[in-house]
């Protein structure tokens, strides 16, 4: 089972990193993204890019961007290119196919984020590290590592669900875009919350330790992912996929 999961993930990775067409362009775009987020933006922000605790939000959000770019293709793309039925006709179990694809999307999300973190660190040190080497504070490093994995997992699970249900890659991408917009809805709703309530919430937040918040958020993410994966497992039925 584990070997099968890795085999499926291996193929997905090969496809993600292949030059030539729709996904092939992603390799070129990956390099652009690494340059923008690992060189350009750090240079604009200066040493704060490495030291500011607020940047943990950037490292947490980034995997969503990467994963949503490739995850729509996982099932919808295979169905569109008529490769899914051949795959379903193999000895692979449903779980191996599902988890292999999830693993590929998840790994792609956090690996690219970690690469960008590393390139950022090099950039900042080259540009501003004359007084000694600069490093991310331990908590930021730990938070970024953990949240990049959790957010990658969350977006991969959402993406797999969307990709399983969508009729085409385009439809899956559109659904993912709508999903991304929905993530901002809570922030937009903040302005409608009565001021008194906002002040009360702010007081509570001030009294809570950031580490506790982080652990709470991480726990919520893990629970969400478990629920989404369970739904995906229920939806992943060979006969249903064949008839779709």
């Amino acid at each position: 089972m584990i070997a099968d999961i890795f085999n499926v993930a291996w193929k997905e990775f090969r496809e993600i990193l292949t030059f030539g067409d729709v996904r092939g362009r992603s390799k070129f775009s990956q390099i652009i993204m690494i340059v923008i987020f690992g060189v350009v933006i750090p240079l604009q922000n200066g040493r704060h890019w490495v030291t500011s605790p607020i940047n943990i939000l950037v490292w947490g959000w980034m995997p969503f961007l990467w994963v949503s770019g490739v995850v729509a293709d996982l099932f919808a793309g295979e169905r569109e290119r008529h490769t899914l039925e051949s795959l379903l006709a193999t000895r692979l179990s449903d779980q191996a196919i599902l988890f292999g694809k999830l693993l590929a999307a998840l790994t792609y999300g956090f690996t690219l984020t970690w690469v960008i973190m590393l390139v950022s660190l090099v950039t900042i040190n080259v540009a501003y590290g004359r007084d000694g080497l600069l490093f991310y504070p331990t908590l930021i490093t730990l938070g970024a590592l953990v949240f990049s994995i959790l957010i990658s997992g969350l977006s991969a699970s959402i993406g797999v669900l969307v990709s399983l249900r969508a009729g085409s890659v385009r439809q899956a991408q559109q659904m993912m875009s709508v999903g991304m917009l929905l993530l901002f809805v809570p922030f937009m709703l903040i302005q409608f919350i009565p001021k008194n309530l906002l002040i009360s919430i702010a007081t509570i937040v001030e009294n809570v330790q950031p580490v506790q918040v982080a652990i709470g958020v991480a726990a919520v993410l893990v629970i969400l992912e478990i629920i989404l994966i369970a739904i995906a497992r229920r939806l992943f039925q060979r006969s249903k996929l064949i008839l779709d």
Binding site: A3, E15, T18, H82, S86, A89, T90, R91, S239, I242
Partner: protein, 312 residues
């Protein structure tokens, strides 16, 4: 034990019965042709046999494994080239085969050796590292056939492997298929509506339409069953007396005269010389004798017509 055995296998989609009480036996080691027009239920049958769809009624076994309850055991032993070739066009030919080799847990050395073994006879080995996106359809189909054989399955399903290919590519693929089959010795379940293909490759054929089995047997059995072989004889001195005498011959099923020719339906074409001898003895001056060999296409069309008449 048969490679495939179905018993009253039935699958409907709404009102449409795609496979209707299909009972079949496919012995091991043969090329079994499953013939039928488009939409006759061939692909659904393959999907049922691979356990990709569940039957509404009846059951099927592949190498003794129930396709519903032991589908994974079935798929472990089979390879399949389905309606679409299912190749990953962004990957190279070798990567496509390698992936399927990995799926079947083949070692790295075995995968490399097998890729060479399969691609060399198909003239694809030198191009194994090219992404296949720009390959011709014929080359992709060849590669897809190689992929089905990658893990040395005991049974392969080929769903219209030459569909959409030009005559040259179809012939080439058919030849390659015949070579590979002889070399690998696997059981093949081949669906097609190309009767020349079935005639060339299959030792046994079944004809299906509207999900129902219309005929089953070797190509020669089907030919014998559905239509009599025919002799066309042109000559002088074919009188009504000669016709009456010919009709009495036990070899002859039916005699008629068409455009000055004598048309004789016989039981056994290999004994046609006996009829010619009888005519010569009756002082008929024979100009030409033409034997019409009934091919599978005639059989197929006849079965389709019979079915249509039955429905009416």
């Amino acid at each position: 034990m048969n490679a495939i055995q179905t018993n009253q296998l039935t699958r409907s989609f709404g009102e449409l019965k795609a496979v209707d009480h299909l009972t079949l036996e496919v012995p091991r080691g043969m090329v079994f042709g499953f013939l039928g027009p488009n939409g006759s239920g061939k692909t659904t049958t393959i999907r049922l046999l691979l356990g990709l769809l569940d039957a509404d009624q009846g059951e099927a076994q592949v190498f003794g494994f129930n396709t519903k309850t032991q589908a994974n055991e079935v798929r472990v032993r089979c390879g399949a080239l389905l309606e679409h070739h299912g190749l990953y066009e962004r990957l190279s030919a070798a990567e496509n085969l390698d992936y399927y080799g990995r799926i079947w847990h083949m070692s790295k050395e075995d995968r490399e050796q097998r890729i060479r073994e399969l691609l060399e006879p198909l003239d694809l080995y030198k191009r194994r590292d090219e992404p296949i996106g720009r390959w011709s359809r014929g080359m992709k189909q060849k590669l897809a056939v190689a992929r089905t054989l990658m893990h040395r399955p005991e049974l392969i399903f080929l769903d219209e492997p030459t569909a959409g290919l030009d005559p040259v590519a179809s012939t080439a693929l058919r030849d390659d298929l015949a070579t590979l089959v002889a070399k690998e010795g696997v059981t093949i379940f081949l669906t097609t509506h190309n009767l020349a293909e079935a005639e060339k490759l299959c030792t046994q054929v079944a004809v299906i339409n509207h999900g129902q089995l219309l005929a089953n047997g070797s190509p020669s059995q089907l030919r014998a069953r559905t239509s009599a072989p025919r002799l066309y004889i042109t000559g002088q001195g074919i009188t009504s007396q000669v016709l009456d005498d010919i009709k009495k011959n036990t070899l002859v099923k039916r005699v008629q005269q068409q455009n000055g020719r004598l048309v004789v339906d016989v039981n056994d074409l290999t004994r046609s010389h006996e009829i010619v001898k009888q005519l010569v003895n009756a002082n008929v001056l024979i100009d030409e004798v033409h034997k019409e060999k009934i091919d599978l296409e005639d059989v197929f069309l006849q079965l389709m017509e019979e079915e249509k008449r039955g429905e009416e």
